[in-house]
């Protein structure tokens, strides 16, 4: 990237500087640590200079935003044209309570909705299922039927605002609830926009809310890709996620490698089905974590964009839109402390800033109280304001990819890309993504990283302010979210009433048709929609699929 002669001059000058100025200084004032490592345990040098990135070609490797390899961004104008979507992940208790919270967030400047479901819903159980005991509404909203979805979005303009739904195992069914609700409100499915997470690979690897085994799960996912690009073209039918992999304890490099690797796997499966890559690829999206190491996170997002563009090109994508990596980011939940919770605001701000400098399309900022409970109104408002301050007061949105060209950032971006391909080699040697999952490769890597990190915290090699340093005995004094105690009872009664009052013959007929189709290889979305429209519940519909596909048991990895 630089003139050979200039580079030589710089290298010589650097050597001199290292020998004279740097070494002498360090002799008198040693550095704080013998070795500085980032969170992927990569050593970080004292300074980065042009020679660290001289091997890069500006136009080919770094380039311009909106142009391959999209390192500097997928849009030519980025935030100068449009800010990222402020999309706060939210949900608790019953649909009524969450509907109120959504309206609150929209009133306070949120620009996209994001639904958190409770555990029974995530596993495809109705609220009154025996496995749902004690879990109703605790970590998200309970949605057992189309009726609940109607209440959840009552009074909300879903033709104008997009909705992301964090749902995986039963994603196809919950998506059907959303589509059916829109159609019942006379909103054309062709104009509704949003995302379903629908990423089963990372469930096996990290989040563990899988239901069915891999093959039928992948079949269902490709069904949604196909139905999506044909029928619901504004919908992102998958959010290929690294967030949860990171939360489970992986390093940033592992998050990058495993996530983009999962993405490539989905593309391969869809192509195996016969789908054309340029038809479905534009609607694949991603979801990353924004963790503590500021520059590593920025490098990670940039590397992800470039790797994705390269891989999709390699797989045969011809349209530019197929090469664009669009991603949502959430600040790291696992970095929040229960001790001195107010300081989480500072953590989230730094993490959010990294996501913005990394070019995220949409962002969720955690609330300060989330190591204690679901966010209170005040806490989530502050989290939202954090985004708004970054957007409007910090000036970072005035130019595209402001850190592009930084010797450190470009070096780190390159390094993370290199290490990603090294991980992919390992996975290939194990036979590919699914065999590697079955052999416990990812899970082991993650568990080892989690354990190593914990040890470093306990040995104080890694400082967590308020936890292993700067501790205080002050009792926690922030208000915690209280949920409506009558919510569960209301929900169960509603379900009972629904099951009595709907046309049960129709429900039976539709569930049978779904069962038959599931045993074959037709696209299941139309059948699921029929079930949903006739008010079959989530649990009933999911049970049909459980019967046909079976349930997955994970390998026992520590």
């Amino acid at each position: 990237m630089f003139d050979e002669k200039e580079l030589e001059k710089i290298k010589q000058h650097k050597d001199k500087w290292l020998k004279d100025i740097y070494s002498n200084h360090v002799k008198k004032h040693p550095e704080r640590k013998k070795k500085f490592e980032n969170l992927s345990w990569n050593e970080i040098k004292n300074i980065y200079t042009p020679d660290d990135i001289a091997h890069l070609d500006y136009i080919k490797d770094i380039g311009f935003p909106g142009e391959y390899p999209f390192l500097r961004g997928i849009h030519p104008t980025k935030y100068r044209g449009r800010l990222w979507t402020f999309r706060q992940f939210s949900g608790f208790g019953s649909a009524e309570e969450t509907n109120k919270r959504y309206k609150y967030l929209l009133d306070h400047g949120e620009t996209g909705l994001s639904v958190a479901f409770d555990y029974p819903t995530l596993y495809g159980y109705d609220t009154d299922h025996k496995m749902s005991r004690g879990e109703f509404g605790k970590c998200g909203v309970a949605i057992s039927s189309l009726e609940d979805m109607e209440i959840l979005f009552s009074g909300i303009p879903i033709d104008k605002v997009t909705t992301s739904m964090t749902i995986n195992g039963p994603a196809a069914i919950v998506w059907a609830f959303y589509i059916a609700n829109a159609e019942n409100r006379k909103i054309d499915r062709r104009i509704i926009g949003g995302t379903i997470q629908n990423d089963i690979l990372k469930e096996y690897i990290a989040q563990k809310s899988f239901i069915f085994p891999p093959e039928p799960s992948m079949r269902l996912i490709v069904d949604t890709f196909e139905f999506g690009y044909k029928e619901v073209p504004k919908w992102n039918t998958i959010s290929i996620s690294g967030y949860h992999i990171r939360e489970a304890g992986s390093t940033a490099v592992q998050e990058l490698a495993f996530t983009v690797g999962d993405g490539v796997e989905y593309v391969k499966w869809a192509m195996k089905r016969g789908l054309k890559i340029d038809d479905f690829a534009p609607r694949l999206s991603f979801f990353f974590n924004a963790h503590n190491d500021f520059f590593e996170e920025i490098a990670k997002y940039r590397a992800a964009r470039r790797i994705w563009a390269k891989e999709l090109k390699r797989l045969g994508a011809k349209k530019s839109r197929s090469l664009l990596m669009r991603f949502h980011t959430q600040t790291a939940g696992c970095s929040l402390t229960a001790q001195q919770p107010e300081i989480n605001i500072s953590r989230v701000t730094i993490q959010a800033l990294a996501a913005v400098l990394g070019g995220t399309q949409s962002l969720h900022t955690n609330s300060m109280d989330e190591a204690l409970a679901l966010p209170s109104e005040k806490a989530v408002r502050i989290a939202l304001r954090t985004q708004q301050i970054i957007a409007h007061e910090s000036g970072v949105t005035d130019t595209v990819d402001p850190l592009g060209g930084s010797y450190y950032i470009e070096w780190l971006t390159d390094k993370m890309e290199e290490e990603t391909y090294q991980y992919w080699d390992k996975v290939d040697k194990l036979g590919g993504v699914l065999p590697a999952i079955e052999k416990g490769f990812y899970q082991r890597e993650i568990a080892n990283a989690a354990y190593k990190y914990q040890k470093e915290i306990e040995e104080k090699k890694q400082i967590v302010v308020g936890v292993n340093d700067y501790q205080m005995d002050e009792p926690v004094e922030i208000p915690i979210l209280q949920m409506d105690e009558k919510g569960e009872e209301r929900q169960i009664n509603r379900l009972k009433k629904l099951r009595k009052e709907r046309n049960n013959q129709k429900v039976e007929k539709n569930l049978s048709a779904l069962r038959k189709a599931a045993m074959g290889d037709e696209n299941l979305m139309p059948y699921i929609l029929d079930c949903v429209h006739s008010y079959a519940t989530l649990g009933e519909t999911c049970q049909v699929l459980r019967d046909v596909f079976g349930e997955y048991k994970e390998p026992a990895i520590y």
Partner: protein, 313 residues
């Protein structure tokens, strides 16, 4: 004390579990209980399962147990995992694969650490087999630590020994070679949906031809996909066949005697070690004796002579 033995004989889980703990900790109560229990043992068919880590032993045991339960038989499972030589602790994770059986009253599962014993088993395993046998279990699985060359003690313990493998190990079958390959009464190639099954079976069969040509029973090689419950019924039949073979050729008795011999040796070994290092006049002197050996002031044989001489008097 009589309570615990009579409850064990009635099949009470709590008592079985407690007695196992006492046996594991060499509690004298256990020794006395074992004396009462021994005459009530002998009914259970003991099936040892050994094989490399990742070959699906636990899942196989789970599926086999379900099959036996369908026949109304009671099952005991002993799952052994390695104890860390550094910390003395252990992660006993085999049970995860079997949690669906946790609330079946006809199944008893116990996880054990090797606690320093080599050979793939643990010192108390003979006691645990007897306890489970006496409590009414018809089938007892012993899942050993995944295999190298040395973890072959299971053949002393089990009536029927299964060796599990997975396809695609490639040259690992070659490296497994003698030792482990000689101990199998039945070979099971699990995860048979993976590529390389036919090759794996062929390699095992040729190895059988080489090493076992004198024996009059052809050792069967089965393929299973435990996760999908495939090949399980066939495996149960082969296990049954093996038991019949042992009984018909009178090898059953001989095999049992091997177990009792191993058990006797283990009991004596433990007693002796306990006597010398925990109870005798030597228990405080051991460290200084070893120090002298290290300084070449005395040699280990002389020390052993001295200790045994005093003990055996």
């Amino acid at each position: 004390m009589n309570d615990i033995t009579s409850n064990v004989l009635k099949g009470d889980s709590r008592s079985i579990a407690r007695l196992i703990t006492l046996a594991e900790n060499n509690d004298p109560i256990a020794a006395n209980a074992m004396k009462v229990i021994h005459p009530k043992t002998g009914n259970a068919h003991v099936i040892g399962i050994t094989g490399v880590m990742g070959s699906g032993k636990s899942t196989l045991i789970f599926e086999l147990s379900r099959e036996y339960r369908k026949k109304g038989l009671k099952v005991g499972i002993i799952a052994i995992d390695p104890t860390s030589p550094f910390s003395g602790g252990a992660l006993l994770g085999d049970r995860i694969r079997m949690m669906e059986l946790a609330t079946d009253a006809g199944v008893f599962i116990r996880s054990m650490g090797t606690r320093g014993m080599l050979g793939g088993l643990t010192s108390a395993v003979y006691d645990v087999v007897e306890i489970l046998d006496a409590s009414g279990k018809d089938i007892i699985f012993v899942e050993t630590v995944g295999v190298g060359q040395a973890e072959v003690d299971v053949i002393k313990l089990a009536d029927t020994t299964l060796v599990t493998l997975v396809p695609g190990l490639g040259d690992s079958i070659q490296t497994i070679k003698a030792g482990i390959m000689e101990i199998a009464d039945i070979y099971v190639v699990n995860k048979a949906d993976r590529p390389g099954v036919e090759q794996a079976v062929a390699e095992i069969e040729s190895l059988i031809d080489i090493t076992c040509s004198e024996k009059d029973r052809k050792i069967p090689v089965l393929t299973t996909i435990a996760k999908q419950s495939k090949g399980i019924v066939e495996l149960v039949n082969e296990i049954e066949n093996h038991k019949n073979y042992l009984k018909n050729t009178k090898m059953f008795e001989a095999q049992r005697k091997k177990r009792y011999e191993a058990e006797l040796i283990e009991i004596i070994r433990k007693r002796l070690m306990n006597l010398i290092f925990d109870e005798s006049i030597f228990k405080d002197k051991v460290e200084s004796l070893i120090d002298q050996i290290s300084k070449k002031k005395v040699d280990p044989y002389t020390v052993a002579d001295e200790i045994l001489g005093k003990i055996l008097k």
